[in-house]
């Protein structure tokens, strides 16, 4: 598939978008505020619409689609600021499981919404290296170490743990197991997060889904899909922040006329509209790159950097354009602002992304020098 084809969504993709829009359109502000980071009926609703299986094969009850369609759903989740771990479980974990070639039985539960996976030690946040140590054990292996930031909560049914090192492995463990402890906390946007501590945690052979290059490969693919989905989530969040701000500027009167008539505010709104379009472009590119390219990192780093900047710029501007009202928890805009902060962190921030790109640029400059020296 070419990027041009990618930009032309299929009819199926359009149907998914429409159904997602209808679904999230029915989520009320009060329901969101009451859901305390997770609503079981919402998760089940997503399952009914096929969200959790968007990337899973037919055989597992999935839709067998790709990063583009997962991005449509992540966008909808951002637009409605859903706190549920859609990306973590249905994109990150599912992609790793699927790439590792696990059996249909495991995937089926995830697709049906009855199993909710928390990736540990990979995927999200981007760029947080948290190596776990692996010791051989008679029945399989024993894992130790601490992962300070995972998307884990009371809803989590399974851990999907990646232990890097000389003998990398990807293992599945139930949420309650000997040697695992969780310190739960909350994301700035209300999502459930936690620190996972492993202390000589025994993993049986049957729980080890992949080893070595296969494990690394599964994790790499999962991380690329994660970046693409988070980018789309950010664009959905940005778009809704713009909608809220547009409404506010048109409705709110000051000095006897609507705020939307003040040129300084109009131009600032125009500027963040540009940011939104650039972010949308980068999100399109990220889902194409994750799906198609063998080494998407150089493109994904640019996408992360650019989208984090857009998230920062749009978040700050929309609060400012809301004036004092933007500072209140009562207005939805602050919730979108916090989600944008959280997404920037999960994407590794603009500074982190540019740091990687800068290092790559330096390497490119070196490589060109060598190439010329060799001529």
């Amino acid at each position: 598939m070419s990027f041009l084809d990618h930009l032309m969504p299929s009819d199926e993709a359009e149907m998914i978008r429409d159904s997602a829009t209808r679904f999230t359109g029915a989520v009320s502000e009060s329901a969101l505020r009451q859901s305390d980071g997770f609503a079981a009926e919402r998760w089940a609703g997503m399952a009914d619409l096929g969200w959790h299986g968007v990337l899973a094969d037919d055989a597992a009850g999935g839709l067998g689609l790709g990063a583009a369609e997962a991005a449509i759903l992540a966008y909808a989740a951002g637009h409605a600021r859903l706190p549920e771990p859609f990306v973590a479980s249905s994109v990150t974990a599912l992609t790793a499981l699927r790439t590792a070639g696990v059996g249909i039985d495991v995937l089926a539960g995830l697709v049906a919404g009855s199993r909710i996976f928390a990736p540990v030690g990979f995927g999200l946040p981007v760029g947080l290296a948290t190596p776990l140590s692996v010791a051989p054990d008679k029945e399989g292996a024993s894992l130790s170490g601490t992962v300070p930031l995972c998307e884990v909560g009371p809803h989590t049914t399974d851990f999907l743990i990646f232990a890097d090192g000389p003998e990398p492995m990807l293992a599945r463990l139930p949420s309650v197991a000997d040697g695992i402890s969780i310190a739960p906390y909350r994301g700035i946007d209300g999502r459930h997060l936690g620190k996972v501590h492993l202390d000589d945690c025994t993993v049986g052979d049957e729980a080890i889904l992949a080893r070595g290059a296969a494990a690394r490969n599964a994790v790499a693919k999962a991380e690329a899909f994660t970046v693409a989905a988070l980018c789309a989530d950010a664009v959905g969040t940005i778009d809704k922040a713009l909608v809220l701000t547009r409404t506010y500027l048109n409705e709110r009167q000051q000095f006897g006329r609507p705020l939307a008539s003040f040129q300084a505010l109009r131009h600032r709104f125009a500027d963040i509209g540009v940011e939104a379009e650039l972010a949308r472009s980068m999100a399109e590119m990220a889902s194409f790159a994750a799906q198609t390219l063998a080494d998407p990192a150089p493109l994904l780093d640019r996408a992360r950097a650019r989208i984090c900047r857009a998230a920062q710029t749009v978040g700050q501007a929309t609060i400012q354009l809301h004036g004092g009202m933007g500072m209140t928890d009562e207005m939805a805009i602050g919730h979108y602002f916090r989600r944008l902060i959280c997404l920037q962190a999960l994407l590794g921030q603009e500074a982190g992304s540019l740091r990687l790109r800068s290092a790559a640029l330096a390497a490119e400059i070196d490589a060109e020098a060598s190439l010329e020296a060799a001529q």
């Binding site: 981007v126 290296a129 400012q320 928890d329 902060i341 920037q344 800068s358």
Partner: protein
């Protein structure tokens, strides 16, 4: 590791280069202030505030007591009302040191806002009753100016105080009332008459917060803290003694008050402390194997803010000390307000950026959860995010950035010289 990140008191023997601009007597004065603050602020309070948390009411009260004993609660007031008689630059240094030493903020509502209005426009009874209680720390005040829908257009206020002969009957609503839930008294603007212009017919009142008919509704702000409120007035009786100055002249008193407010909000001391904090964070925080302080891009960001901060300090000194460049004296407060908001927000943003992925979470549980993860300045996480979030208000309150730019444009562009 965490030890290295803790608050450090400014060292008298290590001068910030900007300090070289001070003369010997100001440096001696600063030493005196530092000496006092070293014991006046408990270490625990200092550490919490330095992390970015707000002071609790009891911390503020305890500190006010120390200040009161020293006579330093309201240095700017005339000596006859309990001021210190310090020069403007002494007050500048004093304010910097409060922020630089992570002292609890002295609530400005009594000292910087209603106090000067009372001793300038109030009657003798009002001065005698209220001023000493501000200086002693007994009375906490709050400000009833803004109303829902008025936004930057303050004079469009609708709260009405009807003259009932022996009292005024107050009905209406105020918003953004900072610390109303802590306050003993409120000063407010209400409409007592009509005029051709909306600025006319407004009066300035003081009122006890326990007067029947006052209801306070918290506003939770985007950092999920409670500092702002809505205040509702339903048939509240204001005694005639609550009117300050002349009826109908409230707008001019409010302008006087807001003019005082704008010069006091540069928060330079706090910014200095945050630059120092960022330097400690840069030492402890790692990107891969490299400490952040070896990242030239981060250092350049910090150096750029530091240069801005130096420029802001000198601009404030210029405003305080010369007063001869009348064009600048007019626009100076707006210059300071705009620039200080930008610097405070840039510092908070850089701090959050330094947190990397750990900017995703917050709350006490979060701090506890990540506290034992090595190589990361965990203790700062939560406070940095709180400061970043609440700090978005610095470009909104006290006249938004847009209002400040309009003031500047009026003063510099509309007058052709």
């Amino acid at each position: 590791m965490v030890k290295n990140l803790e608050y450090r008191q400014p060292r008298d023997d290590v001068w910030d280069h900007i300090d070289l601009l001070l003369d010997d007597s100001l440096r001696a004065f600063r030493g005196e202030v530092r000496q006092f603050l070293r014991t006046a602020v408990p270490d625990e309070t200092r550490a919490r505030l330095d992390m970015g948390y707000s002071a609790t009411k009891s911390e503020v009260v305890a500190f006010l007591k120390k200040l009161s004993a020293k006579g330093w609660v309201a240095p700017a007031w005339p000596v006859e009302y309990g001021g210190t008689g310090w020069s403007q630059l002494q007050r500048f240094v004093y304010t910097i040191e409060l922020g630089n030493n992570a002292a609890p903020s002295v609530p400005p509502f009594g000292t910087a806002m209603v106090g000067p209005v009372l001793y300038t426009f109030g009657n003798q009874d009002q001065k005698d009753l209220y001023l000493p209680r501000i200086l002693s720390g007994e009375d906490f005040w709050c400000q009833g100016f803004s109303e829902p829908g008025s936004g930057s257009d303050l004079a469009s206020l609708k709260t009405r105080a009807e003259d009932k002969g022996d009292h005024y009957l107050l009905n209406g609503q105020k918003i953004w009332t900072s610390k109303a839930h802590y306050a003993d008294r409120i000063f407010l603007l209400a409409r007592t008459g009509e005029g051709a212009r909306k600025q006319e017919g407004i009066s300035f009142f003081v009122l006890d917060m326990d007067t029947p008919g006052i209801e306070i509704k918290p506003i939770i702000s985007i950092d999920m803290s409670h500092s702002l409120n809505e205040v509702f007035f339903t048939d509240v009786k204001i005694p005639k003694t609550g009117l300050v100055g002349e009826a109908g002249k409230g707008w001019s008193y409010a302008k006087f008050l807001l003019g005082n407010e704008r010069t006091g909000i540069t928060n330079i001391g706090r910014c200095r402390r945050q630059v120092a904090r960022l330097k400690r964070i840069a030492r402890a925080s790692h990107v891969g194997d490299t400490p952040l302080c070896a990242d030239q891009a981060f250092l350049r960001d910090l150096a750029r803010i530091e240069a801005d901060l130096t420029a802001l300090e000198i601009t404030e000194i210029r405003l305080l000390s010369t007063g001869r460049d009348s064009a600048f004296a007019n626009v100076g407060p707006s210059v300071l307000k705009l620039k200080s908001a930008e610097i405070q927000q840039a510092l908070a943003e850089l701090m959050v950026s330094a947190l990397g992925p750990f900017a995703a979470g917050r709350g006490p549980q979060f701090v506890e959860a990540v506290e034992d993860v090595s190589d990361l300045p965990q203790v700062f996480f939560d406070g940095a995010l709180a400061e970043y979030l609440f700090g978005r208000a610095t470009s909104i309150y006290g006249g938004t950035n847009e209002i400040q730019r309009e003031i500047l444009a009026k003063a510099t562009l509309d007058t052709l010289q």
